[in-house]
């Protein structure tokens, strides 16, 4: 019995060491995915990747900087509306729409951040929530521009290049690759950010802001930068969603969307960047499968959250880590006895 357990532990450890290969395998599967599954599963994958970008962006704020934003949908929805408005009125070329989204959400994050970051804790949460709800109201009421409660429909898929050298991501497979590219790029950039001295400063602020101030860090600026970065990546996720659904909806700005992405973080594990990806997958896929089997799917979903909060407060990533540590510990004791 002990022998089996120790062998298992060793396998686990070896697997951990071979993480790179696992990632490579994952990359290959991701690339071949459109040819392995039905189109419906491809669209689910697109959704998961888009929400993974969204969740990762919030992790910068919530997980790494310790700023609990309850209005992150503001930037997600803003990205969706900006690309919808630009695409319908001007062009679907990414060379135009992407900068519009990036600059637009960055400016909005600057303005919102300027006020929100002066507060902390529950006040920060309330200010960000208020900002998002304000944008929601505008989307509902300024119907000549935003389409009101109906949203903006008729958003075409993005294109790149000019003239005869242009390409439109019209097919779902091509759009999947575009989203995958955005996802990998976002993941890579955000990884670099959190592993940089800047990222460690953010962690410092999360753990003890007073101390960071005493060390001479201008924490306001750091938090501001984190807020803008998070806003821009949320905007990019919103942009992709609007292009995928060909529609920008006021619900994209609503507080339930902010809540949903926060649940993704809690389920996946905050401050890990990988956790939010897993959380996005669980939260987008679970209701989809559950609701096919039972009308009471919301109850099941609610129970799942409660179980997570009670028994796995650090989410899926926390579970994985605990699992791994146990393996290492067993391996360690095994070596000592032999």
């Amino acid at each position: 019995m002990a022998a089996i357990a120790s062998r298992l532990a060793r396998v686990r450890l070896q697997f951990a060491q071979r993480r790179t290969w696992a990632l490579l395998l994952l990359a290959v599967v991701a690339v071949l995915y459109p040819y392995l599954v039905r189109p419906y599963h491809l669209s689910l994958a697109i959704e998961v990747l888009i929400f993974a970008i969204f969740a990762m962006s919030l992790d910068i704020l919530l997980g790494y900087t310790g700023l609990v934003s309850f209005g992150h949908a503001a930037f997600f929805g803003l990205g969706a509306y900006l690309v919808a408005y630009t695409t319908i009125g001007l062009t679907n070329n990414l060379a135009v729409t992407l900068p519009v989204v990036v600059v637009g959400t960055a400016l909005a994050a600057l303005v919102a951040g300027f006020f929100a970051i002066r507060t902390s804790g529950i006040y920060f949460l309330m200010v960000t929530l208020a900002f998002a709800q304000m944008l929601f109201s505008i989307a509902i009421r300024w119907s000549s521009v935003t389409g009101g409660s109906d949203g903006l429909s008729g958003v075409s898929r993005p294109a790149i290049g000019v003239g005869p050298l242009s390409y439109t991501f019209d097919s779902r497979t091509s759009f999947y690759y575009l989203v995958l590219a955005f996802f990998l790029l976002s993941w890579w950039v955000l990884r670099r950010i959190v592993d940089s001295p800047f990222g460690w400063t953010l962690r410092g602020i999360r753990e003890n802001e007073q101390r960071m101030l005493a060390l001479g860090y201008n924490t306001f600026r750091y938090k501001m930068a984190a807020f803008v970065i998070a806003g821009v990546f949320a905007g990019i996720a919103g942009m992709l969603l609007a292009q995928f659904f060909r529609h920008a909806a006021p619900e994209n700005l609503y507080w339930t969307t902010s809540g949903q992405v926060m649940i993704m973080l809690i389920v996946g594990g905050t401050g890990t960047l990988t956790g939010p990806i897993l959380g996005a997958a669980v939260i987008r896929l679970l209701p989809n499968y559950l609701s096919t089997y039972t009308d009471r799917w919301q109850t099941v979903l609610g129970l799942t959250f409660i179980l997570f909060v009670l028994f796995a407060p650090q989410g899926i990533m926390g579970l994985i880590q605990r699992f791994r540590q146990r393996g290492e510990r067993r391996e360690h004791s095994e070596n000592r006895t032999s």
Partner: protein
């Protein structure tokens, strides 16, 4: 959030990342070779006709979704769950009232379950969000409720047909009727969203053309009106000849009750779009709703054979009185069955199914049912009704049949105020 958090360094170096990227790029290049053996299998001539149902079964519109479903299933059972020589199979999905959830569910039905057509849709926002998907995929959608005007007008697509109404339809004839029978100075109160705006422009057009004047418009916060007191005060201050309003669900109860509580009922006549005093909200409104007059394409007490039979059967089945949404569900099922009979169960060609839709005519609980081919929406009678006490219960009694009303298919009969 927990305070103790373990921070771990990343495991991927730049070289490893590049290696991964290289392999990924190689796989992209190889991928098209595999595409020839894709797993998608289409085309199914025999076996059951699969109908995807997209309705809200949770959240505030759950009652509408359940009413539509119950009546649809009732009709399908009446015809033995068979049409065009094939069995009928329903696959139901909950859209809530979230456009993104509806998008996911529509894809599941069309791509995973490979349904032959889709029916349902309660909210206009969801309908407009799905419009491009059905258009691009050439899949037939029979809309059983959502009344967004654009679907019959500038956002029309051959693949979406509506068995319910356009938002314009019940309001336009009521405007003329109000100017001729109630008064010339109207005050309009609607929730501040698209359907509210559709209500204003349709009512105002015929009301003003019949010599009336809109003296004030009030757009209340949507989806939650909040405290109705300031809105009631505004109405009292304006002192119009009549108030025209459009609210549904909980807001309809709040508005109608507040209207009575503030002493406006009995003083200033209240008219509305029929949804505000439909069977689903009347019990909660109680006596406050007495005397409210409204225009709609159906009423519980509408005197025709089909309606009587429908009402009895629905009550036996569900234990409740039917509402207008149930009627729409019943007619949706009937349209689908008639269509399948006409194409003899051949659902492989969507154009053939669309082609037979304009020829479908039958006696519905709402009176004669037929499509207007231009607006892809029913051409139907709109009834002016009044809430009265009938045998100890509150119901809408029909005062006048305002005739057959067809959506103009453009915005020519709307007036911005």
């Amino acid at each position: 959030m927990s305070d103790k958090k373990t921070v771990q360094p990343t495991g991927l170096s730049r070289r490893e990342f590049l290696r991964a990227a290289g392999i990924a790029a190689g796989a992209v290049a190889a991928a098209p070779l595999l595409s020839a053996c894709g797993p998608f299998v289409g085309g199914r001539a025999t076996g059951p006709v699969k109908i995807g149902i997209l309705l809200p079964y949770s959240d505030i519109y759950a009652v509408l979704g359940e009413s539509i479903t119950a009546a649809m299933e009732m009709y399908f059972e009446e015809v033995g769950n068979e049409a065009g020589g094939r069995k009928i199979e329903l696959i139901k999905e909950d859209t809530e009232i979230k456009p993104d959830v509806a998008q996911q569910k529509a894809r599941k039905l069309v791509e995973q379950d490979e349904v032959d057509l889709v029916a349902g849709i309660v909210s206009s926002g969801v309908l407009l969000a799905l419009r491009d998907y059905f258009d691009a995929n050439k899949k037939l959608l029979i809309c059983a409720n959502a009344g967004a005007n654009p679907i019959s007008r500038d956002r029309k697509t051959p693949y979406i047909w509506r068995t319910s109404f356009s938002n314009w339809q019940p309001n336009w004839p009521t405007g003329k009727w109000a100017a001729e029978n109630v008064g010339k100075r109207a005050f309009i109160s609607v929730p501040d969203y698209a359907a509210g705006e559709n209500t204003i422009t349709a009512f105002a057009h015929s009301f003003v053309n019949a010599g009336g004047e809109v003296i004030g418009v009030q757009r209340t916060p949507f989806p939650n009106m909040g405290d109705p007191a300031p809105f009631m005060a505004e109405i009292a201050d304006a002192n119009p000849d009549l108030v025209y309003a459009f609210y549904s669900g909980g807001a309809a109860v709040t508005f109608v009750k507040a209207y009575a509580d503030f002493g406006l009922a009995g003083k200033i006549p209240l008219l509305s779009s029929g949804f505000m005093v439909e069977e689903d909200v009347l019990p909660a409104q109680g006596e406050a709703a007495l005397g409210v007059r409204s225009g709609l394409h159906w009423a519980l007490l509408l005197d025709n054979e089909t309606n009587k039979r429908f009402r009895k059967a629905y009550k036996e089945r569900t234990g409740r009185e039917p509402n207008v949404f149930a009627v729409q569900g019943y007619d949706t099922a009937r349209v689908i069955v008639e269509m399948l009979n006409k194409v003899e169960g051949d659902t492989s060609n969507v154009d053939k199914m669309i082609e037979v839709l304009p020829d479908i005519q039958f006696d519905s609980p709402r009176g004669p049912f037929k499509f207007d081919a231009k607006s892809q929406n029913p051409s139907q009678h709109i009834y002016l009704r009044e809430v009265r006490e009938v045998d100890g219960e509150l119901h809408n009694v029909i005062i006048e049949d305002m005739g057959e009303i067809t959506d103009p298919g453009d915005n020519s009969k709307d007036l911005q105020v």
